[in-house]
Symmetry: C2
Subunit: 189 residues, 2 copies
DNA sequence: ACTTTTTGCGACATATATGTCGCAAAAAGT
DNA sequence: ACTTTTTGCGACATATATGTCGCAAAAAGT
């Protein structure tokens, strides 16, 4: 367990995430990351050999975190409506953070190569599946009434992505955000 | 009126749009456009001197077209609900077309420089304004009933963007699209 | 027919990013 | 203390994109 390398790896990943969030995927070069990290050419390449590798790593860990959080909630028997509410809040918190919002870069990344595309498609499908499952649970538990859970889930996921994209251009007020959450809840009732 | 130059300019713009739609903004180099058009270095630079200039042009003409279409509808006294319906259909048609969907690239473009950012912010504001106006009209005319037209407009615009982004990854069926439109209409009633 | 303007060409100099390599210092293992 | 492994460095060769320029052909104007 060598911590030194791990630390620089983490620093590289964090720095890269912020850069991807700010500029997009293709606009970021290894050179940019290297400079921002204060590393030398060889220093960076020792750990990662391309932006593709770095971005893939970012997505994979994000994915893993999401799944473990969900598993935990499921095991604790949290009600569907509560889970969805928590999910939405957490999603918005991350998506609306300028240093973390890489969802725009994600599509670019997907376009850059077939494996990347497959990874991102799976990620998108997972999101919809998870939300659909929460809604279904909420319906069973009487919190929601919804004839087409999948359509509702797709609606919610796409709305979130759209809001985040819009927010990156024109930051939303807390009130506006709240209003959008209300619209979603009304839709499910 | 020299048609020769105009034709190549159009060809460059069309080609560039398709490339931007496919790869994103930063991933497209003048070199790519040049090659795709079958032009020489000097041939391309005669007309445009950067991808920034080309992208700006694309956005501006798109903007102009949207405004003239709206003006026409307004002058003909089309009802608000009908206008919104036509707007949504036309938007979806364009947004869901892989060769035309540049809305993902748009955010990257916005991040690339301050003027670009200003242009795109205005574009986003315009979209919301236009839809809000249509909803307001629809309310006046009794087709809709909606206490917060602006929030509804924001919801619709962001949903469209999100759907388009999702569609670029996982193409939606006609049924799914129809279902989403229904959800929107229900929201406004 | 002629002159002028527009258009496109490809060579060139320049700038910038990529990826590799041997070396040395730092850290870890024994 | 010594050896081995990990980490970071910066020079290097390579690849790729940018932007300019003078020239020639094509088109348009007269």
């Amino acid at each position: 367990m060598s911590t030194r390398g791990d630390l620089t790896r983490l620093k590289i990943l964090d720095t890269a995430r912020a850069l991807f969030a700010e500029k997009g995927y293709a606009a970021v070069a290894m050179e940019d990351i290297r400079i921002q990290c204060g590393l030398s050419r060889g220093g960076l390449y020792r750990h990662f050999s391309s932006t593709k590798e770095i971005f893939t790593r970012l997505i994979e860990t994000e994915q893993n975190n999401a799944f473990s959080a969900l598993d935990k909630a499921m095991k604790n028997g949290i009600p569907g409506a509560l889970m969805l509410n928590a999910f939405l809040r957490s999603r918005i918190k991350h998506l609306f953070n300028p240093k973390e919002y890489i969802d725009n870069a994600v599509n670019e990344f997907a376009a850059s190569c077939p494996e990347c595309h497959a990874l991102i498609v799976k990620r998108a499908e997972n999101s919809v599946d998870i939300v659909a499952e929460m809604i279904r649970l909420g319906c069973e538990q009487g919190a929601y009434s919804c004839e087409n859970c999948r359509a509702a889930a797709l609606h919610i996921i796409c709305l979130l992505e759209g809001l985040a994209k819009h927010n990156a251009l024109i930051p939303m007020t807390a009130q506006e955000t709240k209003k959008q959450l209300e619209i979603i809840e009304n839709m499910l009732k």
